[in-house]
Amino acid sequence: MAPSAFREGHVDADGFRIRYMEAGEGVPLVHLHGAGGLRLTPSHELLARRFRVVAFEMPGFGDSPLNTRTESMPELASTMARAIDKLGLDTFNLMGTSFGGKTAVWLALQATQRVLALVLEAPAAIRQEGAAPPSGTPEEIARRLYAHPERLASIPPIDPAMRAKTQPLVQRLLGPHRDADLESRLQDLSTPTLVLFGTLDRVIAPAMGRLYKDLMPNCHLVFVYDAAHAISTDRPEAFTEVVVDFLERHEAFVISRAETVIHP
C-alpha cells in the first residue's frame, strides 16, 4: 500500500491534549474510534481521497494519560465537540465506530445543526443483552473483530497494558445495553444517518441495526456482506464506497449510478 497520507496533530480542548490524524481535502469528516483506540485502516486512506478526514484519539486512549475524569458518554461527546471547535470545523460529517458510534450519536444530539450527516459503523449505542467487548488473547480478540483474520495482511497489534488502562473508561462510559434516555432522544434526531453492520459481527448482533431505523426518523441501514465487527478493516472498499455515496447524496444514495453498458 502507498505510504499513509495522514499527518499527526494535537489540539488542547476541555483540559485534555487530544491527538488526531488528518488527511485529505474537502468537507470535513470527523471519525471517533472504537474501544480499541485509534487505528488507521485502509478505509481512512480511501475516505481521505474525497473528504478532509480528521480521526481523533479520544482522551484516555492510546498513549494519552489515564482518563479518570470523564464520567459519561455525553460528557465525552461534549469534550470531542470542543476539540472539533478548536480545529475550526464549523459543520462536518461525523463517523463513529462501535464505542465511538455511541459517542458520535451523543455528539450529534448536542450539536445537531453542525453535523451534516452521521455514519455509524457497528455502533454500540444499542446492544443485545450480554454483548461484551472482545477479550482474551490477541488471537481470540482478532477472531471476534475480523471475519477472516488469516486473510488480513497485518492485524493491528493489541497492547495488553493499553487495554488495561482503557478498560475501566470503556466500562464506565459504555452504559447499559439499552439506554432508554438515549433512545427517546434518538426519535428527534433527524440528521441523515447511515448505520452499517457486517453480516458476521460477533460483538454486536447485526440485528441491532433495525432498532436504529425503528427509532430514528432519517436512518438508513446497510449490511456489509462477509464483514465482522471491524467492517472498515474487513472490507474497506465496500465500506468506503457506500459511506462516500451516502455522505455525498444522503437519502438519494438509494438511486443507483452504476453503469451497465458493456460496449457503446
Binding site: L196, T199, G209, R210, K213, D214, H220, L221, V222, F223, V224, Y225, D226, R235, A238, F239, E241, V242, F253, V254, I255, S256, A258
Partner: protein, 358 residues
Amino acid sequence: MKVSFFETARYQARQPLPSEWPVPSGIYEPDAGARAYRGMIERLEFVEELGFDWVSVSEHHYSPRILTPSPIVSAAFLAAHLKKIKIALLGPIVPQSNPVRVAEEIAMLDTMAQGRLVVGLLRGTSNESLTYDLNPAEARERTDEGMELVLKAWTEPQPFGWQGRHFRYRTISIWPRPLQQPHPPTYALGTSRESCDFAARHHLGCGVSYGSFESVGKATRYYREQCAHYGWHPSPEQIIYRANMLLADTDDEAQELLRKLPGQAPFSMRPGVREAMMTLDSRNIAGEARSPIVSGALPTTFVGSPDTVVEQVRRCRDVVGAGVLDLSLHPPGSSELEPLMRALELFGKKVLPRIRDI
C-alpha cells in the same frame, strides 16, 4: 422416511434428440412441449394419490431432458393443480439469479400455495454456468452470498441495503413475506464443504445427490459435524438424498433395466468446453476434491425388487442419514413414460408403505 418425486417434465420428441448441450431449440416441437406439461400434472396427481410427500422441480436450461428452465414457474403451475403434496423447488440456481427476486417469488408462491413450499438453494450443474454467462470461478462465492441475501430478505423487518462482493442493493424490503415463518423449510444443496458449512451456520437442511451412499455420506457426516459445532443437531428430514432408482418385480428384471440404460451424460458439452470446465469449475465433497459431473452418466444407487430396495433404503438411512429421498424412478432425462408409471405404481404399493418407519 419421507419421499419426494423428482419431476422433469418428460418431453417426448418425434425424432431422436442430439446428445450435445445446448440442444438446438429449432427442433423443439411446441405440441410435444404442451403434452409434456399436461402429462406432468396427470402423473403428479397419481404421485399425490400414491402418498408421496413432495414433488420436486429443478432448474435446467437449453435442453429437453429436463424441461423446466424456471423452477418457480413449474412450482406455481404444480401448486395451482395439486392440492396436498408439498412442492420442493430444488432449486433456483442462485449465482445466476437476482437473489432478491428469488426471495420475493418464493415468498409469494409460499403464500399462494398455503405454505406448501420447500426450498433448496444451489450453485447449479457445470453446464448451467454457460446459460447466462456466469464465470464458473465466481460461482461458489456468488452462491454463498446470494443464499445469505435470500435469507436476509425473508427475515429482515426494516428496509436495508446490501453491500456485497457480487450483489449490491441500496434498499430491499420484500412483500409478501413467506407464509411459513420465518421462511419455508430451506436446504443448501450440494456436497461441498462450503455448502455444508453454510447450511450448518444458518440452521438449514442439506441436500446431496446421485453419489454412492459412502460418497455423499461423507458430505452429510461433515454437515452434521458442522451443525454440532454451531450448537444444534439436524433432524433426519433436514437431509435430502436425490437419487435414481430402478425398481422391478424381481432383482433380475431391475438389473436388466440397468444394463439397458444409455450411459450418457445428461448435459454433454463439446470436448473443448468440457475439458476447460474440468479445470475452472472446482467441486468437492466435504473438502475432498471431486471432478465436476460433466462427462459421465449419473449413477443409479437403488436397483432391485421391492425387498431389495427397501433394504437399500435402510442402508441409505444408516450411511447417509437422509430422512427424505428425492427419487427419479427411471432416469430423469428419459422420455419413456410407460416404465416410469409402472415403477411409480410398484413403488407406491410395495415400497413406500414399508419405508415409512425407516
